[in-house]
């Protein structure tokens, strides 16, 4: 029998084959907040295979029961579904735990032995939910212990969390190490933004409709604004964030991915390689953010700042330097705004304004496409209010959807014009639940679909843009500019856009 004739006409999406998920960093925050709830939701949707198991790995001493208790607590605290139930119990019974040191070769032998005991280990998905500093150690040991090599009937894949490197050199080094033991098809560099429905829908919106692509270019689009704003501060992540900052944490990955999806040319097919090739083309067209001929600031295209104390979401909050575990003299940026140009026929001369920051007034991530005004403003005299440019807004979070703002005549005998907004929301339009990004991405990795994961060359190209900025900042001395918590960044961010006679969208 070739294939499976029972799938013919079946409306449900495919279920992965036998899989064991091995989570490195099983006692960590990401596992508790995201991975375990995502697995539970997938189990609730019936999307996990019959032969499925999880092996949690960390240095924390714990046994299988301890890991199952952690799963129980994570479900109760972070899952959106019903609390502990028979599905959770069934899933918990297939969860195991191994404690050990990541640099201990003997530990990988124990892991190998454990995998052989477990039903479903034909397919093994390693998930590196660990600090980037130990990625290399784990990958090296997975390779040298033979765990990276797939058996005859099976597969081995590895998911690597961001940040993939801390600059271009380290990203290259990490890619080389990964490729020493895994082929590119086995490596899944996760960027959870790509798992969001709206981000995926951007491809459908652009390439599944005939009416938008003809105006998706420099002739009709004035500029693009991509915003990723958080109300939270550094929280408990200071030890990570101090070495990262907003540029590495958000711009290098999330914002560059969004930019590439907006700017890419149509792929020839909806296949992983075709989509990723076109995204790569877009990224390669991005002009350097820092001029290389002068002392780094020939064009002022990027702004950084750090939040001071202020008032956010109804509470007074401390400044970054007063946060726990933050160096009091830290120059780590918590806000970045940038103006990006792409050197290609579609986008020449169209600025893409990017901004991201912590302790901003509102939590929102969106892409706003602002169209050019009509060539002739014939209503200028008749209508006393100025005509607003048309705006297409792709809401990435928290309220996924698409909005279109356009001008309409106000009812009445006078010619008065006002902007109106049409909204499409994922949460309500199609009924049912919108899956969380980690559910989508975990499932895709189990199914072997790399479309929504970052390819090695994209990661390197992105770092190639970011690294000169980091180096330029590194040479600067003195304190970093600040902004008041609860404000939309420093004044310099406004100047970045107002000098082009534009302004940031009011959010």
């Amino acid at each position: 029998m070739s294939g499976n004739p029972l799938h013919d006409g079946l409306r449900l999406e495919p279920t992965p084959g036998p899989t064991t998920l091995v989570i490195f960093g099983a006692s960590g925050d990401l596992t508790k907040r995201k991975l375990l709830p995502a697995l539970y939701h997938l189990a609730h949707r019936g999307r996990l295979p019959a032969q499925f198991a999880v092996i949690g790995i960390a240095r924390t001493p714990m046994d299988d029961e301890g890991f199952r208790t952690q799963f129980h607590d994570a479900i109760n605290e972070f899952a959106s579904k019903a609390p502990w139930d028979e599905i959770a119990q069934s899933l918990a019974s297939r969860m195991y735990y191994l404690a050990g040191e990541f640099d201990d070769a003997g530990f990988y032998e124990r892991l190998s032995a454990r995998l052989k005991e477990i039903d479903g280990a034909e397919g093994v998905l390693f998930y590196l939910a660990i600090p980037p500093s130990v990625y290399g150690t784990v990958i090296e040991h997975l390779g040298s212990s033979g765990l990276a090599a797939a058996p005859d009937k099976g597969w081995r894949r590895i998911i690597v969390e961001k940040p993939f490197g801390i600059d271009l050199a380290s990203a290259r080094e990490l890619n080389q190490l990964a490729h020493k033991h895994f082929s590119e098809e086995q490596v899944y560099r996760i960027d959870h933004y790509l798992g969001k429905e709206t981000v995926q829908n951007l491809l459908v919106f652009r390439f599944g409709n005939g009416m938008f692509e003809p105006v998706w270019n420099r002739r009709y689009i004035d500029h693009v604004q991509i915003t990723a704003a958080e109300t939270v501060g550094v929280e408990h992540r200071a030890s990570y964030y101090e070495g990262s900052g907003a540029l590495r944490d958000m711009v290098q990955n999330h914002l560059m991915q969004l930019l590439a999806l907006v700017a890419m040319e149509p792929p020839i097919a909806f296949t992983a390689e075709s989509v990723r090739d076109r995204k790569m083309d877009a990224l390669l067209a991005v002009q350097p953010l820092v001029s290389t001929d002068g002392d780094g600031w020939a064009r002022r295209d990027i702004v950084r700042a750090q939040y001071g104390s202020g008032w956010v979401s109804g509470s007074e909050v401390p400044g970054y330097l007063s946060e726990p575990n933050v160096n009091p003299a830290s120059t780590t940026e918590t806000f970045v705004a940038a103006r990006v140009y792409l050197d290609n026929w579609r986008w020449a001369g169209v600025p893409f304004y990017l901004r991201t920051g912590k302790r901003l007034p509102k939590r929102t991530t969106e892409i706003a496409i602002q169209f050019r005004r009509p060539p002739l403003e014939i209503f200028r005299r008749a209508s006393q209010t100025p005509v607003s440019p048309d705006l297409l807004i792709i809401n990435v979070q928290p309220d996924e959807g698409i909005s279109l703002r356009f001008e309409a005549k106000l009812p009445g005998t006078r010619m008065q014009i006002a902007p109106v907004m049409m909204n499409f929301r994922y949460g309500t339009t199609f009924g049912g639940e919108v899956p969380e990004a980690y559910e989508t991405l975990l499932l895709d990795a189990m199914l072997g679909d790399t479309t929504l994961f970052a390819r090695h060359d994209f990661v390197e190209a992105s770092w190639a843009l970011i690294t000169p900025v980091l180096e330029s900042w590194h040479t600067r001395t003195g304190p970093i500019p600040t902004y008041e918590a609860g404000e939309w960044g420093p004044e310099a961010a406004n100047e970045l856009i107002t000098q082009d006679r534009r302004r940031w969208r009011t959010l």
Partner: protein, 311 residues
Amino acid sequence: MTIAQPAEAATEVPFTKIAEAMAQRVCQDSAASPMRALVATVVAVGPPERLVDAASALQTLGDAGTVRGILISEGTNQAPPPRVAGNTVALHGLKPEYIDNAVGALRLSSLPTVVWWRGGQPDTLDGLARLAERVILDADDPQRTWERASRLFEDSAFSDMRWARLTQWRALMAHFFDMPEVQAACTSFTRLEIHAQDRWSAALFGAWMTTAIRFGKGFSVRVTDGADDVAIEGIELGNDEHQLRLQLNERRSSIETSVSVPGHRGATRLVPLTDQALSHTLTEELRIRARDAAFERGLRAVLAERSRALR
């Protein structure tokens, strides 16, 4: 609020004012839920007693702002007063020959029309099938409707609520066949046993299996009485030694799947039973746009089998 029964709250409006009344209601409701993007018109046709829960399901979808609902019961009235509640309009006792006209006037333009057939005169179904992109059959006794529908497959995409509720059972059975060991063993299977209260659902499931997979000679499909509270209680495929089992648990909340075939270590898992509420099943159905070849094949096989049995 439901508008299926005249006694319950809804606004009576002239036929020509229906769209206006709906728009006003939507505006009134917009403060609570301003985000609306309509996806389809759903036309529920059936006897009044079967429109009560249909109205409630449509109201749920209408409240989310995603569909326009039209409820029609057949009768002798040439111009029954339309009753509007939210995004749903009800016409009670409309003469069957005018039903397609009413639908033609009330459906949303440029969006799919889905007919939810809960019973009525077969001739009416013919007319509606021509208007609709999809027809979801949902008759209590489906024999006559299925026979009629099978002749209309070329005109419209048909499905059936029974078939929709079988989707999860079919998916779980299909997942068994993803395992090479099961595919290798299936020629040795001798029987399919379905424990079902609803014989029609069981017949559809059996027909789906036997039309999709070539089992050995002497293979039999047996339907036994299942519990009263569920359409399907359990399914077992195999022979005396090896089986694939799907069994609803006692709480009716999950399906336990187990497999025992040569070369396989055996595995069981628990999968939550999908939400059986009418509105949920309808929501799932509204996501389907294309013809369902497996359903058409299965239904034809069921009808052929019944025809053979009657001879």
